[in-house]
């Protein structure tokens, strides 16, 4: 039995397979949120966000999406990226109460590690680095071949993305200079970062990833078409998420500017 989705080289079958490592990871996040994360005390309006985020994380890591993305289709691998790196983190962070972040920020780990890593410039550079490195063909082919490698890649996406979204979503620590317009620029700049993988995936003449090119075929999709779809998912899906987030920030900025005084 496999504990995490990885490229197996066996023909694809629409037969359910268990991945206990994924269940354990999702359960661990849920328990941590409910016990030490203050999940019980979050205001009712924001409570569902965390659980929607966790459900999407589960869907993206488990069968069939996780298995297809790990070893069969680059396009599904990219759907996973959009979910894990762009949609799940802001939902998870939105569902955690402010007091939890304040408590964390006051701790030595918060001051020594989380504060510097969630500085917008550091977070953006880290995220850009992870995006570029984890889409590099040799890295993808090397990591997806083993469960540990596949797990490392998923965690790299999730970890870097949590840091990236932190300054946009989390109000702690207070960063007065990271204003609404700066947040909008931060998000739009990220769409530029993601243009590089989009270009080489969509316009390449030959398949980049041996994992997907040599995988047992699924659904009659050729390796080249699959790769182009992957690029478009990155561009359109990822772009849509970031522009939507930028729009929400802009709307909040507009509201704050036009809020009645006194």
């Amino acid at each position: 039995m496999n504990w995490w989705c990885a490229a197996q080289g066996v023909p694809w079958a629409w037969t359910w397979r268990p991945y206990p490592g994924v269940w354990l990871f999702i359960a661990l996040v849920a328990v941590l949120h409910w016990t030490v994360g203050g999940g019980r005390s979050v205001e009712a309006r924001r409570r569902p966000w965390f659980w929607v985020g966790l459900a999407l994380l589960w869907v993206s890591l488990d069968w069939p999406l996780g298995a297809l993305g790990a070893g069969y289709l680059a396009s599904i691998h990219m759907v996973q990226f959009v979910l894990i790196a762009l949609i799940v983190p802001p939902l998870l962070l939105s569902g955690v109460p402010r007091e939890t972040f304040e408590r964390l920020d006051a701790s030595p780990a918060g001051r020594g590690v989380i504060r510097p890593l969630t500085h917008p410039l550091v977070a953006l550079l880290l995220f850009a680095l992870v995006v570029v490195v984890t889409h590099w063909p040799a890295v993808v082919d090397g990591l997806m071949a083993t469960q540990l490698g596949s797990f490392a890649l998923d965690m790299a996406w999730l970890g870097a993305a949590m840091l990236f979204w932190w300054p946009v979503v989390v109000p702690v620590p207070a960063r007065p200079r990271f204003t609404y317009p700066a947040k909008v620029a931060y998000l739009i700049l990220t769409t530029v970062v993601m243009t590089a993988p989009y270009i080489f995936l969509t316009f390449a003449e030959l398949p980049f990833y041996a994992t997907y090119e040599l995988a047992p075929p699924v659904g009659g999709l050729s390796a080249r078409v699959d790769q182009r779809i992957a690029g478009l998912v990155m561009r359109i899906g990822g772009g849509a998420v970031l522009w939507t987030a930028a729009g929400i920030v802009f709307y909040r900025w507009y509201r704050s500017e036009n809020a009645p005084v006194g």
């Binding site: 066996v10 023909p11 398949p207 090119e213 995988a215 047992p216 075929p217 050729s222 390796a223 080249r224």
Partner: protein
């Protein structure tokens, strides 16, 4: 030199079983063992490793040999005399089957994709010949329909398994071995490589599973120049 194909122990075991089951000539057996031990991979398994020549990305033979002649029926039911029909062409010969879940469709799809990138003048000098190792299920219509998914110009040949295995042996390939499954279906363990026969009629390079489109894109123009 780099490795793209690692043979598993199981592949060698199947090869031994297949060999003992029966190829006629001892010389053929010996040559099949020599190359087949390196290259046999059953469908449904991951690929292994073969030597990559510096001139080609596939495994180039140190001493190319004349392509053996044989005759089988094509998907129209007409006789296909291999040497006569392929004389003067770069011929990519592959033994596989249409129910193959992994190696065969990947080889065919990757070859078709790169052939589509060649100039018309180059493309018109290449023939792809697919010989089924599963004549029980691969009727002419089934083979034709399957090949048309990749390229309508691909040639499909059908013959009884004994004849096909003799042909494979003459190309120094191991025989196809039927593997029964619990479901009642069967797989066919077969040679995983595409044989490149240049326009001068010599077998020059073997391309194992794991060959990528980038490899074909590099080698096909070179193969077209060899033997001109």
């Amino acid at each position: 030199m780099r490795s793209i194909h690692t043979a598993r122990a199981g592949a060698s075991a199947r090869l031994s079983a297949g060999l003992s089951a029966g190829l006629g000539a001892a010389v053929r057996l010996a040559s099949s063992v020599l190359i087949g031990t390196l290259l046999l991979t059953a469908c449904g398994e991951r690929s292994g490793s073969a030597r990559i020549d510096s001139e080609f990305r596939g495994s180039a033979l140190p001493e190319p040999f004349p392509a053996p002649d044989f005759t089988l029926l094509d998907t129209d039911g007409a006789e296909f005399r291999f040497r006569e029909e392929t004389a003067g062409y770069l011929t990519m010969l592959f033994f596989g089957y249409t129910h193959c879940p992994d190696i065969c469709p990947v080889h065919m799809a990757n070859l078709a994709a790169v052939l589509g990138d060649l100039l018309y003048e180059q493309r018109s000098r290449v023939k792809v010949v697919f010989v089924t190792t599963d004549p029980e299920r691969d009727t002419p219509a089934v083979v034709r329909e399957w090949l048309d998914r990749f390229d309508r110009s691909f040639i499909g040949l059908i013959g009884d398994l004994e004849s096909v295995n003799e042909i494979q042996a003459s190309f120094r390939l191991p025989p196809a071995v039927r593997q029964e499954m619990q479901s009642g279906e069967h797989l066919v363990g077969h040679a995983s490589q595409v044989v490149a026969i240049t326009s001068d009629g010599l077998v020059r390079v073997f391309y194992p599973s794991g060959v990528r489109q980038a490899d074909w894109a590099e080698d096909l123009p070179r193969l077209l120049e060899v033997g001109r």
